[in-house]
């Protein structure tokens, strides 16, 4: 994205220095717009899919098929009074939603949405994603403590315990991806999944070289842990409404609550993008070549237009795969009941952790033999 931006400035005849100075603002604007759009759509999708799974109608009053329901909800939240009860710790109470929200916003900038559409392309991007996503836990704990409410405190404590326990199998599952790709750069991890299994019409499809095939156990572990990381059913103990009212955000209202809400859905989206990027080939098409290239290469001979088509298709594949993963997460929400706190811990430490280590061993052996065969 950086290259494209500088190129546009060069073509317009504006000095490069100006482009370099204004550049850091662009990813933030990009991220902010993307985040709002994604969350608005995601909330509507969740309510619609959940309604469909439980044989209800879902939101259907505002706009055609209830499409503007989320926008109406957002306006309602913006207009609401910001209540702060007397015994809260005012400074930390205000700071906590920001600590939760800001890191997730930075993670959006690190994701490779298409080949060129990466706001910040870092060598250690994958590592930074997990470092930043763990900061949100601090915010949740602080929110729980600053509310001065026993339900909030319990929710915050549960969230911290859960995040610390589930981060370990999560990171070990990701380690197998680093072994397979040989890099921590998210764009390079995607590129490493191209090429297929061998030459030939069918076997050269990209599906056969996606990381999910050697690291299938890792995929399952990562999927479960990422649901736990974003506090969703069946791992939503931090905000279990039947026991803790609403957990760490019980005392929050108005825009501060909206920030928590936004962060939760944004984290869910980003975790799905991460699952797709690490295990399901990211923006790569599942076939051996991009559909738009195979379809139009005989009709359109202009390389630049073909290139733009290819980019749009990459974006399409990423979004399609991501929403498929999100659909599964919502499906799980509609199907499974909540875990108990002790089940939660023993599941992470006694089941997922050994499983992730087994996965790492399998992947290491696979990598050893595949490099041996390919020379």
């Amino acid at each position: 994205m950086h290259d494209i931006y500088i190129e546009i400035f060069n073509k317009l005849g504006i000095p490069t220095v100006l482009a370099e100075i204004t550049w850091p603002v662009i990813p933030f604007i990009f991220v902010a717009i993307l985040l709002i759009l994604v969350v608005i759509f995601l909330v509507l999708m969740e309510r619609k899919v959940l309604a469909w799974l439980t044989v209800r109608k879902g939101p259907n009053r505002v706009g055609p098929f209830g499409f503007f329901q989320t926008i109406a909800d957002a306006i309602k939240l913006l207009c609401k009074e910001d209540i702060m009860s007397k015994d809260t710790n005012k400074i930390l109470f205000t700071l906590a939603p920001m600590i939760v929200f800001a890191p997730i916003m930075i993670i959006y900038g690190l994701m490779p949405f298409t080949e060129k559409f990466v706001a910040i392309n870092l060598a250690a991007g994958l590592f930074l994603v997990f470092a930043l996503s763990s900061i949100t836990t601090v915010g949740i704990v602080l929110a729980g403590w600053a509310s001065n409410n026993k339900y909030s405190l319990l929710g915050g404590m549960r969230s911290a315990a859960q995040a610390i326990s589930y981060e370990i199998p999560l990171v070990i599952a990701v380690l197998s991806i680093a072994v397979l790709a040989g890099t921590l750069n998210l764009s390079d991890i995607v590129i490493a999944q191209a090429g297929g299994f061998s030459d030939g019409a069918f076997f050269s499809w990209n599906v056969f070289s996606w990381n999910i095939i050697p690291a299938f156990i890792g995929f399952v572990v990562f999927f479960i842990c990422s649901i736990a990381e974003v506090n969703r059913i069946p791992f939503d103990l931090p905000e279990a409404e039947s026991e803790l009212v609403s957990g760490y955000n019980t005392e929050y209202s108005g825009m501060k609550f909206a920030l928590f809400f936004l962060a939760e859905y944004a984290a869910m989206f980003i975790m799905s993008v991460l699952i797709v990027t690490l295990f399901l080939g990211g923006y790569l098409s599942p076939f051996s070549d991009y559909l738009s290239v195979t379809l139009f290469q005989n009709i359109i001979h202009n390389q630049n237009i073909l290139y733009i088509f290819m980019h749009i298709e990459q974006g399409f594949w990423l979004i399609a795969k991501t929403y498929f993963v999100i659909f599964i997460i919502i499906w799980i929400r509609a199907t499974l009941p909540r875990l108990r706190a002790d089940q939660l811990m023993s599941f992470a430490w006694k089941f997922l952790l050994p499983l992730s280590l087994v996965n790492l061993t399998i992947v290491a052996v696979f990598k050893y033999f595949s490099t041996l065969m390919n020379g």
Binding site: L92, A124, W145, M157
Partner: protein, 196 residues
């Protein structure tokens, strides 16, 4: 570019100093913990300016989150004892702390102002040659993770393994210490037998 670099360095350094001072001087321990997060993240920023991306991210992950979350946990579990006044000037412990901090400060000042220059020349511990521009460029594009990984598993594999053994011993020790009481609670007959 040099001006931008300096600007960022002084901005981060200013935030770091303010945050570090507020860790010590703020009246409530929760505020200290929060400003410690800020201090650790500023240190990570300085590491980024030095092209040490892996160390910077580790700093965020281990210190800014891991360590502080355990501290906040401890503060929560001790309840409202944390509301007590922490900072008392001219108490014996304050003066003692000042003495130790002063010794450290003088040592660091001595090192930074090349007080150890002759020592460095003799023992070549402190290498004074800067890395070449090519090295810096490869570091900026490829990151330091690969280099650190290779060094850890080839040249420094023995210290690395010894360190991991030490950490394992610490974890096992913690488990044993935490488990001891529970055994007595669950099975009081064994305690009776021991007392006999």
């Amino acid at each position: 570019m040099d001006i931008i670099y300096n600007l960022f360095f002084y901005a981060i350094a200013f935030v770091l100093v303010i945050a570090a001072l507020s860790v010590v001087f703020l009246p409530r321990i929760v505020y200290s913990a929060v400003s410690m997060i800020l201090a650790f993240i500023s240190v990570a920023g300085i590491f980024v300016l030095l092209n040490a991306d892996f160390v910077a991210i580790s700093q965020i992950m281990i210190y800014a989150v891991g360590i502080t979350i355990i501290m906040i946990f401890a503060i929560m579990l001790t309840g409202r004892v944390s509301e007590k006044k922490l900072w008392i000037a001219f108490a014996p412990r304050t003066l003692f702390a000042f003495a130790i901090a002063g010794v450290f400060f003088v040592t660091i000042l001595f090192t930074v102002t090349n007080g150890f220059k002759s020592l460095a020349r003799e023992s070549s511990i402190f290498s004074t040659t800067l890395p070449s521009i090519e090295t810096i460029e490869t570091l900026q594009t490829q990151g330091t993770t690969g280099i650190i990984g290779k060094a850890l598993f080839t040249k420094y594999v023995l210290p690395f393994e010894i360190l991991s053994l030490l950490l394992l011993a610490a974890i096992l020790g913690a488990v044993v210490m935490a488990k001891k009481d529970r055994d007595n609670l669950i099975n009081p007959t064994t305690r009776l037998i021991e007392e006999d």
